[in-house]
Symmetry: D2
Subunit: 311 residues, 4 copies
């Protein structure tokens, strides 16, 4: 009866670098509605209105925008060491740090994946304890949700020079399941993968400049499409640069809007998608003429920047 798939359990948080820390912080808190829970060094720790973790987002001052690291929670406390052995087996340099080296976070394995993305795995994490709890006990903050109502970090989209290789590594080594792919005769140009019942926790797209370790976007969930349309109103009013949307991808059934936060990182607000509950999902492959609808189901065409700008 043992389930032997070694698989990370869920996306926990992401750290992004910003050369404009004050402007970025204003955007993530006042506009998106995240909530500051901690400051340490050059970093500010933030959480969304629907998150019980102390943070899902770390903003760290840096000379350039980009991915600091992505952090995945594992399923059981004693798995962190197992993952260290696994990284050794697959030849990835890594470091095991005991709890407390990061705020609110337990024993942590850190490594840089073969495509250049700094990554952390851990199990223990402090739960957020609201100072003013909502009467809705399962919700960490009181109504109304602040800002545009960004509820929680939903997924991450990173780039790789060779998406086929990246897809294989993330499925073979970290246990991701392929959910959807945009496939050409020359290989996949994008893959959408998950370890949860979400259609994607992690997407990997071909890097437009052939670079390593870059971030395409981080995505926050909004409760409904209507909430996203209201968010668009606010972005226009604020003068937030909109990269694309509102629109809908065929891929993942995402109702999306992409903006650039003041530090230069692309942020998606996302609603929709679909759950995958069965264990036997057959990946959806978009190829040939179908790729057009995969990219834009409805809404304006994506700008060139969407395919070239990553951070």
């Amino acid at each position: 009866m043992e389930v032997t798939t070694p698989r990370v359990h869920n996306l926990h948080h992401v750290e992004v670098f910003t050369p404009k820390p004050n402007e970025s912080l204003d955007f993530f808190t006042r506009v998106l509605g995240l909530h500051e829970t901690h400051r340490e060094g050059q970093s500010v720790y933030l959480r969304g209105a629907g998150e019980w973790a102390r943070y899902s987002t770390i903003l760290t001052e840096g000379p350039e925008p980009g991915l600091g690291h992505m952090a995945w929670q594992v399923a059981e406390p004693d798995q962190v060491e197992g993952w260290a052995r696994r990284m050794k087996d697959v030849g990835v340099e890594h470091k095991l740090e005991s709890g407390g080296s990061r705020f609110a976070q337990g024993d942590t394995l850190s490594f840089t994946g073969p495509f250049g993305h700094r990554t952390e795995l851990f199990y223990d994490f402090e739960r957020y304890v609201p100072a003013e709890p909502s009467k809705l006990l399962s919700q960490p903050v009181k109504f109304p949700n602040p800002g545009i109502g960004a509820k929680r970090l939903d997924h991450l989209n990173i780039t790789a020079r060779n998406v086929d290789e990246a897809r294989d590594w993330y499925t073979d080594v970290l246990g991701f399941k392929l959910r959807e792919a945009a496939r050409t005769p020359d290989g996949d140009i994008g893959v959408w993968m998950s370890v949860t019942s979400q259609v994607h926790d992690l997407a990997i797209m071909r890097d437009g400049l052939g670079e390593r370790g870059r971030l395409h976007h981080i995505a926050y969930y909004l409760d409904t499409p209507e909430t996203l349309l209201r968010a668009a109103d606010t972005f226009v009013e604020e003068g937030t640069p909109i990269d694309a949307g509102p629109g809908k991808h065929g891929l993942t059934q995402a109702f999306f809007i992409y903006v650039f936060e003041p530090g230069g990182n692309r942020v998606e607000l996302f609603s929709g998608g679909y759950p995958i509950h069965g264990p036997d999902w057959e990946p959806i492959i978009w190829d040939g003429a179908a790729i057009e609808k995969a990219i834009v189901w409805y809404g304006g065409q994506l700008p060139d920047t969407f395919f070239t700008v990553a951070t």
Copy 2:
């Protein structure tokens, strides 16, 4: 690195008995928008617009409404035998049937749980192949979704004489995780549990008449609260008896409407809820004065029938 929790993987389908099979079928197809895929004996097999399985719902003619059985998929093909051993260990009579004894379904373990609910476990299941596929490749049917847009079977709510015992059995034996509970000094009166990232795949409420093996309701997912309001318009127009709602429970953050299908079984249309992705969820306990908001966050009070009528 082994994950050793024996846990069923996801709710797959439910069979309900109806003394009015034609009227029930009309309701499930024309009004709810499910799609007939098969008939066999006294049963009609139905699937929702967002489901890739051949069926999630079986309507079977019977002298009284009630639960035929609930069926759960397991995570790996070879787990069915493991579950048979586990049932033997916990002293539950069971039967192992090889694939094909049920339409579209592989090797199956069937048993009646200690609280009287007939249950099936299996892994293999035939995927639905749409005759006219949508251009949206991840969606099994073309737009627009038929009827009120019932997307997929979401969860099941059953009753038990002693909810504490039922909660313990389902968590200890089948691997459910407790997500929320309504707790009194005399024990839990309702528990909401899941094996997926949904806040509930299975709920158990105290049986108002102290009976065994009864069904409180089956629930289908609707994409948005607005879709549910439109569904309410249709139910009123159709003369479908509405038991409660539209309204919102504090419990599970469910935006709900409960109706009785013509055969007498209660059906919930559900939108909202929240995902639980982390492995370390702390159950939400509603007790004392909080129970009132647990039951009705907003909307009219629930009628007495809600607490007494089960099938």
Copy 3:
């Protein structure tokens, strides 16, 4: 080609008395999202996010909650005197005050209608000039809309001992058109009337206590049903007493929630309704068994307070 119907043109504002001016002001501004534009004497003047008038709502301190006055704009500047003649003709005592006696308001005719409701008619009114205009030039405030997003004063519901007489007076003298009515063999128990293309600018319901000059509720418009559901979340969180809803009346197709503001006046948040553009509307009459659906199309039954409490 002259159009000779003497008809008031549109609802402009309403004044309500509150014995708890600070708590009421907090509710109307922080929770509903109205915006204070002026203070004078015991009154605070407020406007909604979608209103170009200086105010639509006046909160005035008083020993008891209730209607201060309702104010209707007329179609042309020179009609105010004409309305004074008309009031004389129909034997209603009235006063004509020149512009400036009320903040931002021009020449005004004031009178107490035959059912005890203090009323003002005028044409001239100062337009609101936003200090920080929205980039959306037709919107007086920047996105996001504050509070629950109450957009504008929509309609007023008053009570009368004899609804038939009130209906006739408001249609014959002020030019209202009857849009819908709840009719019994003993006469109308409620009428919904308008001078604009809205299904109601003014409703009159039978006074549950047989009193004169009372207010049943004032209603603000919310953009969508979903906005109203989020408002309900906020009301529950705030502990705002909810009298009824969310639900939908058959009458006027109103998606509604009714709450009591801290001063004791009932406030409706309203979405939906329908426009009446043609000149030849035939009133919708709900009688006999249909009255039940007129009152509650869906949602919980209305409480007794709905039919007895007015201010």
Copy 4:
């Protein structure tokens, strides 16, 4: 007290020509959800789910797509002759036909306006009597609304070589009020006008080819933005050519999608807008840098076809 503004009262219906009558009829009925009420000659008469008139849309077979005529209702039965005198005064050739010359329509004044658009004015019109009335008495059809839920004809957008002249004629002669305009130093390039409380019943845009009498689009109202997003799903599935959207104009606050019906006419599905109830509206003028947001508040850029293709 006389109101002396000669003003048409409301848009009643529109006739469009189609070279593909069967395909157009399928689109307007099955996809948009209009309902056929009559056939006569080469014309099919259609009404929307929220319309009490016998028809709001006439599809007439013709060699080219384009506007047949637009029809406006007047405020009082005896005004038709007055309008005939007025047309004579302003030197517009016209014809007065007695009732019955058009299906369901009374005495009618017809003329071709100075910018080439055939127009009819009348008062009397037969009301639709539903064969199977809804329990919601104010709604002409039962729930659920068919197709994508096009509720009613909302407005019309026509083109003119000289928008300034057209604006003046429609305001001076037919009594339209200017609500919004896109203004350049060379004159207005678009004007949005109404005779009702809608922000526009009629829009006039500069004809991209300098032609006369052309139609830019006819627009149907959808209840909510979410309904429009679902409509977009259906259009993509159907392969309906989408000209622009979903998106939002700053102008009129329109949430829009524009498609081409099979006959080649552009059809807008529209939600949002805002009401204008006061008699003293100051037109919103978009000029200079603001014009960009007037055209696209959010959503992809409009294609060139939007500015050149009319029928």
